[in-house]
Amino acid sequence: MDEMKDVILKYVKNEYLEDEDQEIGYDTPLISGGIVDSFSMVSLKRFLENKYKISIPDDKATPEAFDSVTRIVVLVNQFVK
């Protein structure tokens, strides 16, 4: 679980964080905090699907479900076998 958290956090930092000085953690708001916008959410979803060999239905990929690394982990774990 912790490993998944760290993998996702690292990916978000590398791919979406524009301000290199900004510190983010597992519970930093990603969507409502303006770090990941609704269009970019598609690439984050694709990353999760590729990485964990899952398929996240569109109706589960809501801004609320993607709003922090912690929430994303909960979402991903619903689909990981």
Partner: protein
């Protein structure tokens, strides 16, 4: 009682001089949008009225009265003038929705310079082509976006000043980078506002074209006349309203109706620089007691998706008038908003080039869900035959939307691109590039774009620009980009690509290509789907036939394929 009243009365008695008189503008005299939006409101006795209420992430908040707005815009204007910024120099505003974006925009206009707002999510390539085209002299930005500018700065010797509004006072600044802290700057009470005239350039917005580089749409200070009157008549902003325009000032809605129109009316508006979620938005409406809400179909459809139950958790009873812009508002969304908010969204139609609303559902007018409404009084409109360009008199027949080019906010040109500008006019009509029909009662019904431009969530994306960027990816040999239908965003970007030898069509490569475009151009331009193909359909002369791929995505008839290379 709405400002608008009866459509027929307004149409019968219309003159743009109505707005000129209300704004006390004398033709031939000085007209400066920056002054009208700040000093004039104060001179009329509303200096203490709240102008801007702002909230950002991390519970940050600020608010400005009209007098504070006046002084802050003076301060920014004076700072720029002291740097040596001259009238008509282009000054880019490249910021998230923070107060400095709104204040900076007006400060730039006050000194007669040209405001060039750019969407802060643009990647370095998108940013570069727009700055390079405009030969921008200064850019006002935030620390978080400086990295993108540093990557391209060496290619832009003309960009003399990179003004950072939130420098942390620690990190070393590089050549041409200048810190500016509005809160610490000495307030400038009096500023000699530049005496711009009606045709003086004001705003330069960039919009995508089907081919070539993005086009700089040139507006002038006289645009205020129609922006003011449409804000009053269409958005119906009244003295005690709290207005919320959800658009980003990187795009035209965010400047025409997120800055110019409401401030020129002396309205109180609120701005939220927080990402979208239904809960956030409803909480904001409840907290600010928003009365007039101008939003976009994509957001409305996202709110529909979030469901009805969440609406009941919040007190939205302050809402009085709702309007929408960006792409056609589907009938279901109008019916849904009537059911859940007790108010319908009023669709409005216009574009970057028109500068102000040209077709609309007006307050008090019968709404036909799914229709864009009727032409704004003072805007002469028609539907032209697709081939002959003659006006169609038959109701319901689809043709090109055409407008007589005589309203104040219409663009005055494409920056350094007179050939493309000239192509927008046929037989004395301005053609926005959209297809529609008109019914017997004069209501417009949108039927689609007349070109390959992709309208995603109300933002136009050039397939050419995305295709060009795709070719810079090491794995991509050829590409074709088309619109794909989408329930929420109306359209999204889809790319068809062929790969260079040695590359395998994997899911990881698809993600890599998506992220490549997102960083280079923007998240809007990022293909939401990439389809690997062996070859792309081409004409015998080698031109990629996008329309075949588009038809395939939309389940439409493919049409004439007689020129197909390998038919």
């Amino acid at each position: 009682m709405s400002h608008f009243g009866s459509y027929d009365d307004r149409a019968a008695n219309f003159s743009w001089s109505i707005a000129e008189k209300e704004l006390e503008y004398t033709p031939g005299g000085v007209i400066n949008i920056g002054w009208y939006c700040t000093d004039r409101i104060c001179e009329n006795g509303s200096g203490d009225k709240k102008a801007l209420i702002w909230e950002g992430t991390g519970a940050q908040s600020k608010s400005y009265t009209y007098n504070e707005l006046r002084v802050a815009t003076n301060t920014i204007g004076a700072f720029l003038r002291n740097l040596g910024i001259q009238p008509e120099d282009r000054v880019c505003l490249f910021m998230d929705r923070i107060p400095e974006l709104y204040l900076g925009f007006l400060g730039v206009l006050k000194i007669g310079a040209v405001a060039q707002p750019l969407f802060s999510a643009f990647g370095e390539e998108s940013l570069f082509v727009r700055l390079d085209d405009a030969r921008t002299r200064a850019i006002i930005t935030q620390r978080k976006h400086v990295g993108k500018i540093r990557k391209i700065i060496d290619q832009m010797p003309y960009l003399e000043f990179i003004i950072i509004v939130d420098h942390d006072r620690k990190k070393e600044l590089r050549e041409r980078e200048i810190p500016f802290w509005l809160d610490d700057a000495r307030p400038v009470e009096m500023l000699d506002v530049h005496p711009t005239k009606a045709e003086s350039p004001s705003v330069l917005h960039y919009t995508s074209g089907t081919t070539g580089r993005p086009k700089g749409v040139q507006h002038v200070h006289y645009s205020l006349i129609s922006q003011y009157l449409t804000t009053k008549w269409v958005l119906d902003i009244q003295e005690n309203d709290i207005y919320w325009c959800t658009a980003d000032p990187g795009w035209v809605t965010g400047t025409s109706y997120g800055i110019i129109g409401p401030f020129a009316m002396g309205a109180t508006q609120c701005v939220q620089d927080i990402g979208f979620s239904a809960e956030n938005w409803y909480r904001w409406i409840e907290k600010q007691k928003v009365t007039v809400w101008y939003s976009a179909p994509t957001a409305i459809r996202s709110l529909m998706k979030a469901g009805d139950a969440i609406v009941k958790k919040f007190d939205l009873s302050s809402l009085r008038h709702l309007a929408s812009v960006g792409e056609p508002l589907n009938a279901e969304a109008v019916i849904w908003s009537q059911r859940v908010y007790g108010l319908p969204f009023h669709d409005t139609y216009w574009q970057t080039e028109t500068g102000s609303i040209v077709i609309s559902n007006f307050p008090g007018m019968k709404i036909k869900p799914g229709s864009m409404g009727r032409a704004f009084p003072g805007v002469t409109s028609a539907i032209l035959d697709l081939k002959s360009y003659e006006p169609i008199t038959e109701p319901g027949r689809v043709g090109l939307i055409a407008l007589r080019p005589d309203w104040p906010a219409l663009m005055r040109g494409y920056w350094k691109n007179p050939e493309t500008y000239a192509k927008k006019f046929v037989n004395g009509w301005y053609l926005p590039g959209d297809r529609s029909s008109i019914d017997k009662e004069g209501y417009f019904w949108f039927a689609g774009r007349d070109d390959d431009i992709i309208n995603t969530a109300g933002h136009l994306v050039s397939p050419f620009e995305v295709e060009s960027a795709l070719l810079e990816h090491p794995a991509v040999a050829e590409s074709a980009v088309v619109a794909k239908p989408d329930d929420v965003n109306m359209e999204v970007v889809k790319a068809f690509v062929t790969l260079k030898p040695g590359f395998e069509p994997t899911d990881d490569l698809e993600l890599d290509i998506m992220n490549f475009i997102r960083k280079k151009l923007s998240s809007l331009a990022m293909p939401q789907e990439i389809e690997y193909v062996e070859s792309l359909p081409k004409t015998r002369s080698g031109k990629i036939m996008r329309r075949l791929l588009r038809a395939q995505e939309w389940g439409e008839e493919i049409g004439d394929v007689s020129t197909l290379e390998n038919d």
